[in-house]
Assembly symmetry: C2
Homo-oligomer: 412 residues x 2
């Protein structure tokens, strides 16, 4: 039978080592979200195509995977988590709490050009608070983002602004031909482009070079709004270290739908890219077909966070699921082998049984190759004496002792 033994471009397999790393990071994020009272939800992978398209413009629509199912329905693969959540908010309005803190950790699909670090199936982690306009909600979103990353071991940097700062400061520079939204778009690039390049782009858009320069100066000197001041003052009280956040009047978070606080997260130890961004979007849920409900949240790029965590060695080095590989060298010790494995397991020690009767050297070299922390080889001697020999594969140290003793040293 011939067939492509390969994945589609832009899609990935995760073999055990990487999958364990992903699970570890996802668990940490989940734990933090729930520590802050966020509630998990799950939406289907497939939705009506009409739900998914026409939401974020034509360019985005091209990236939605849509097709006709066998029943002739136009369907599509989840593109983001906000649109399905808007549907949830509309569909279950009566069942959901007034202040709904939810999170989704799910895969989304984009028919995008695959390139380094960009995939067609990837994971998003989105915590949001619906129903509250209070700066308390804004502060909680920033704090949960900080702690989710902090608890993985990162030293995250949060760059915070308010859309109103941009509007108030930049509106005077708008003309009949250059909209304030267009100016904001260019100003947002100050992070990645030189000041000169930004001035040039503004000039190309139609501002005089003088006005363009002036525009830059104004935005640099801009002060936070009262609303943002309140939010910023709350952060240290939510445990966010003063060194880990700051006001930056020039960040704009491209997307038009933000209405208030906006912020961006970086992991400077890793690189200068962003691992997530969010803010307040009080009108979007209604625009997406949901109820008229204020919202604030963030989308975290799970895949980049995992990459950074691996690179920065923040993930405990579990080279295998099992702590011990245990094997028998002789049929006669089979019974003792199974009982020993079961005792380890009953005490929470992750134990893999070598699924063959084999020579000690074979079992040992297998354990070595597969990097089990410990190996135990059961022979007639161990079985008759009721002991187990445990070899620490890192130090080479070998201990022979009754099972109970060994268990107490290995118990998690």
């Amino acid at each position: 039978m011939t067939q492509p033994i390969q994945t589609l471009k832009g899609f990935r397999d995760f073999l055990p080592q990487e999958k364990r790393a992903r699970d570890y990071v996802a668990d940490k994020i989940k734990e933090t979200f729930e520590l802050f009272g966020f509630e998990p939800i799950e939406t289907p992978t497939l939705e009506y195509a009409s739900l998914l398209t026409g939401k974020y413009g034509e360019e985005a629509d091209k990236l939605v995977y849509t097709f006709e199912d066998r029943g002739g329905r136009k369907v599509g693969l989840r593109y983001d988590q906000t649109v399905p959540t808007a549907r949830i908010l509309a569909q279950y309005q009566q069942l959901l709490p007034k202040y709904f803190r939810r999170y989704n950790i799910q895969n989304v699909f984009r028919a995008d050009k695959p390139q380094a670090g960009r995939y067609r199936e990837f994971t998003q982690c989105d915590p949001d608070i619906f129903g509250s306009t209070s700066p308390l909600a804004d502060a909680e979103i920033i704090a949960v983002t900080y702690w989710a990353l902090k608890n993985i071991g990162f030293n995250p940097q949060l760059i915070i602004n308010d859309r109103q700062v941009l509007f108030t400061t930049l509106s005077p520079f708008a003309t009949n031909t250059v909209s304030v939204a267009s100016i904001i778009q260019t100003i947002d690039k100050l992070d990645k482009m030189t000041q000169e390049a930004v001035v040039t782009e503004l000039s190309n858009k139609g501002l005089t070079p003088e006005r363009a320069k002036n525009c830059l100066e104004c935005i640099k000197d801009a002060l936070p709004t009262e609303n943002l001041k309140t939010i910023l003052k709350m952060l240290p009280r939510l445990g966010v270290d003063e060194n880990n956040f700051g006001f930056n009047p020039s960040i704009a978070r491209g997307l038009d739908y933000y209405t208030g606080m906006i912020f961006e997260v970086k992991l400077p130890e890793y690189d200068n890219g962003s691992v997530g961004g969010g803010g307040r979007y009080d009108n979007l849920i209604k625009q997406l077909g949901g109820p008229d409900i204020p919202a604030v949240g963030i989308g975290l790029g799970f895949d980049r966070i995992v990459e950074a965590a691996i690179k920065l060695q923040l993930i405990p080095d579990f080279s295998s699921s099992a702590t011990i590989l245990i094997g028998a060298i002789d049929e006669t010790c089979g019974q003792y082998l199974l009982e020993s494995a079961t005792s380890f397991r009953k005490n929470g020690v992750k134990t893999e049984i070598y699924p063959a009767i084999d020579k000690p050297g074979k079992i040992l070299s297998y354990a070595n190759k597969q990097k089990y922390p410990y190996v135990s080889i059961i022979g007639p001697d161990e079985a008759s004496k009721g002991v187990v020999t445990l070899k620490n594969m890192t130090t080479g140290e070998q201990t022979t002792a009754p099972l109970d003793e060994l268990i107490s040293t290995l118990k998690p």
Copy 2:
């Protein structure tokens, strides 16, 4: 904007309470799999359609969601976890251990007729051991299944057989027109049909009524193979209670690809249906395009297991993610509110901040409605004295004390 505010038929949303139950059960299963040394892997949701179709026959092919992507590739949604795993085994042969224990917990998609308990997107939990023909591997698969369910709180029943028992016993009854496979298919129904009905079906297939009756008697008296005896003897040593498993010579597990031990899992406290089935399938991986490698495993139906766990009340009653809802009645206590919440959180107490300044009655009735175990309302009095008042929403009991004291009683 008009749009369907609904999910596609056969697809489901999971709101917080159900999602928490699912996460709880998934974690338990994962924990047990890893306790037995199984390694997690993840495969993409989309694969080449040619990989997914032509594997399990025409009927199955009709259930695969396939479509053409924007690049003109024929693609399809994951239909099961065995086919992608066969691809993994082929594609990464050099990287994988000789004895590869892996598990997948992922969603699969079937364009099936939706009906009670049958969905178009559902979750499968599959642990398998590849590379070993030893009965140790068969026993491990049965044991891990038992423990995964036991650790959730079930009292599972494992019904075990060997395909060889069926072949040896039933081959003499096969004729030119009635194959042994066809006889096995009918015998497999003894579980759901009366003996008379089975005899009738066999007669309809072409056996004389006498032969049909005789066939039934023979299968009832059949004895386990030597191989199966070895496996069954191992189970108690792997901690599987004698009361929880048994040999049943008539179960056949419909699918043709099994080559040795086969088994089925039921939760008799819940209902008489099966929540999973598996066995040894030494030729399938090669047939699916993978390497020629022996395999034994089981597929557990996650959705039915969750349903049973909810019904049997095996899931701890966490009515909300947060243990405490904490709110302030006055702007002046905002600082103290945030600091209190942060202290709770730093000690692992799941805490949700009520995202508004509100009247005590409002906060209390919200906490009551949303079923938080505890509520804490911060007023100027608490803030000035440096205490927190905590109300147990189950007992109605109210305690006012310094934060540290309350934390020590709530700390997980």
